[in-house]
Amino acid sequence: MEKAIKRYFPLFIIPTLAAFLIGFIIPFIMGVWLSFCEFTTVQDATFVGFKNYLLAFADETFVHALGFTALFAVVSLVLINVLAFMLAMALTKKLAGTNIFRTIFFMPNLIGGIVLGYIWQLIFNGILSQFDLALNLNAKFGFWGTVILVCWQQIGYMMIIYIAGLQTIPTDVMEAANIDGASGRQRLFRVTLPMMMPSITICTFLSITNGFKLFDQNLSLTGGEPAHATEMLALNIFNTFYSRVGFEGVGQAKAVLFFLLVVGIGLLQLRLTRSKEVQQ
């Protein structure tokens, strides 16, 4: 039986491999190739070398978007994880109705980003219009509006991961800590957090990459207004691609840079938190 599986394994991986090739590897290679080209459609590309990359760096909106996105990613990373962890702690206590609360906090995650963006835009503008202000007139409002939206959307999701993590902490470790007379603070920082590192790795990875890749929410909440001030990287790439004739390649070059950045940060972050994980 095992021999048969070994012999026929290529047959079994073909569907997945084919899907992966068609849906991922080939478009990715094409994307990298196109970033060195000038093109209108993907078949009609002429090689132009590094011109697109030079134009991408010369574009000050791209550099601004980079800074803005980095700031956003850091702020949302901290807020989402701290708040999600606190919620998870609260909802693993023996309280009535924890299941209902878990469900409620998780629900925003089930709504798509575009829809969320428009809903929050209505809410924010409804309030701001009382003071003759609007979300897309002020970059600060745009920034914090997006932070609130993303927190609201993602805290529930991270909370579920943290709850799962908390539930795997063996009770005997906690009991031992209690008997040794550890304070609540010591228990949290010396026992719970080290035991939770695998969950923290996953959650911080998810929230930082989500922060960098944010597109739907950015597009629908502020659309980058005022004057590109709240435009994040993904939206900047999209706008570059479609807003000028002949700039498709530049958008593609930005997308490649964006990919390298997200991969780099993701790997760095995994390394940092992974090294803190302890063996149970």
Binding site: F20, G23, F24, P27, F28, G31, T40, T41, V42, Q43, D44, L55, N125, S129, D132, L133, A134, L135, N136, L137, N138, P198, T201, I202, F205, L206, T209, K213, F215, G223, E225, P226, A227, H228, A234, I237, F238, N239, Y242, S243, R244, V245, G246, F247, A255, F258, F259, V262, V263, G266, L270, R274, Q279
Partner: protein, 444 residues
């Protein structure tokens, strides 16, 4: 342990794949496709060859009518016609992905010289086509050198649509408004008495994406038109902005005499403006002939149109803004049979009774072809009256705007100025410096 690490790495790789897929994929083109009956009668099949027509339609408002027309053509000739309509604002993205397919559109459209620059390699030379022979005037052909790359299929007009009843209630008629000074006087008078009258002068000049093109593109056409006219040119690589003070004057008039506080315009949508106009909260509404169906409830006799006066010299004889940004192009990379089938289909559309009725009556178009039928759209008739009375129509020079980016930046600057978060200088910079910068970027 090893297993766990492997699993974690695998999971991370999958997430990374998700990240990549998100940035690599083109946005989904939402649209409606339908392939009318493909069962071609054998008898006619031989005569028409085996070409097919695939039309990527720009106007969602007319999707239904195009589907019906395609079906009628298939029934009559047996040639398969597919019509796909791009979602509003998604035409370029849809076209880019559709034309890369094996079954690419045989018929698509560009919006003028700037759009043509990106698609010229895909435009079949129409100079020897029967369709070109049907054009009522050569000015409706979009040329790339000697090549006829595109042919306009609809002429549209915009201006300031107004509610006759309300204007009379305020004590004025169209005869009182002959230039910018008159318009300003009337608008400011209505604003001063808006409490007592119960309505405002202008509908909200919404700067939401669904409405801002009325100002960053259509209204911006007027300073460009007068500058081109004064300099005797039809396009430029660097605009001087000689009429920007006039642009400021009309924009100030719009934002200070509307239903909405200027600071809140950034959130107002196109639908808001329509609603305000239809519910008689405002007298003036800047838009064009295509908006008729939205406002028809006010009654045909109640609708009038005024030229957009900006205070330029000689504007007493200025008419409405008439032109086109819709040019049919035939895909030169399609097979010869498909090109022929497409040309035949277009010729049929503009010459046959069924085709012209569909275009002129059902879709409400004014078509620049000999077979044009009298309009049923009252706004079109108003625009014809202006021309018959000797007013000079304002041409659509916004097709020469260097890029979408230029329009967007101008829109942001106008929004900021209206809200008071930035100065008019920002608009001047976006208009003048932005033009030169975008022109240089695009034409490198």
């Amino acid at each position: 342990m090893k297993m766990k690490r492997l699993l974690a790495t695998g999971l991370a790789a999958m997430l990374m794949a998700g990240a990549l897929a998100a940035c690599g994929s083109t946005p989904a083109s939402t649209g409606t496709a339908s392939t009318p009956s493909t069962a071609a009668p054998a008898s006619t099949g031989a005569a028409v060859g085996d070409g097919k027509v695939y039309y990527l339609n720009f106007k969602p408002e007319q999707d239904e009518q195009w589907q019906a027309l395609a079906k009628a053509y298939t029934e009559e000739t047996g040639v398969e016609v597919t019509v796909l309509t791009a979602a509003s604002g998604q035409y370029e993205t849809t076209l880019k992905s559709e034309i890369a397919k094996t079954e690419a559109p045989t018929l698509f459209q560009v919006n003028g010289p700037v759009g043509l620059a990106s698609w010229k390699d895909y435009c079949y030379d129409l100079s020897s086509s029967q369709l070109y022979g049907e054009l009522s005037s050569d000015e409706f052909a979009l040329k790339d050198g000697d090549k006829v790359a595109g042919i306009a299929y609809v002429i549209e007009t915009y201006g300031i649509i107004y509610n006759k009843g309300l204007l009379e209630k305020a004590g004025y008629t169209q005869d009182d408004i002959k230039n910018f000074e008159d318009l300003k006087k009337v608008a400011e008078d209505i604003t001063a008495r808006s409490g007592e009258l119960g309505f405002s002068a202008f509908t909200s000049a919404g700067m939401d994406g669904s409405s801002d093109w009325r100002f960053k593109t259509h209204l911006a056409n007027l300073p460009i038109y007068y500058e081109y006219k004064a300099d005797g040119i039809s396009s430029t690589d660097a605009i001087k902005g000689s009429y920007l003070d006039n642009y400021k004057a009309i924009w100030d008039l719009y934002i200070n005499n509307s239903t909405t506080k200027p600071a809140l315009l950034s959130t107002k949508t196109g639908d808001d403006a329509v609603a305000e106009f239809v519910t008689e909260q405002a007298v003036f509404y800047q838009n064009g002939t295509w908006a008729y169906n939205d406002i028809a409830d006010l009654g045909d006799d109640n609708l009038g149109m005024l030229p957009i006066y900006i205070g330029a010299e000689g504007e007493e004889k200025q008419g409405l803004c008439t032109g086109t940004e819709n040019y049919w192009c035939v895909n030169s990379k399609a097979s010869e049979e498909d090109i022929q089938a497409t040309l035949d289909f277009l010729y049929w559309c503009v010459t046959s009774e069924e085709g012209t009725t569909a275009l002129c009556t059902d879709m409400g178009f004014v078509i620049p072809f000999k077979g044009n039928l009298p309009a049923t759209n009252p706004l079109v008739n108003i625009s014809n009256d202006y021309i018959a009375d000797g007013y000079t129509p304002v041409s659509w020079n916004f097709t020469t705007m260097p890029s979408e980016q230029w329009k967007n930046d101008l829109g942001s600057a106008l929004t900021g100025y209206a809200a008071g978060t930035s100065q008019w200088d920002g608009v001047v910079t976006a208009f003048v410096d932005g033009w030169a910068k975008e022109y240089a970027a695009v034409n490198g």
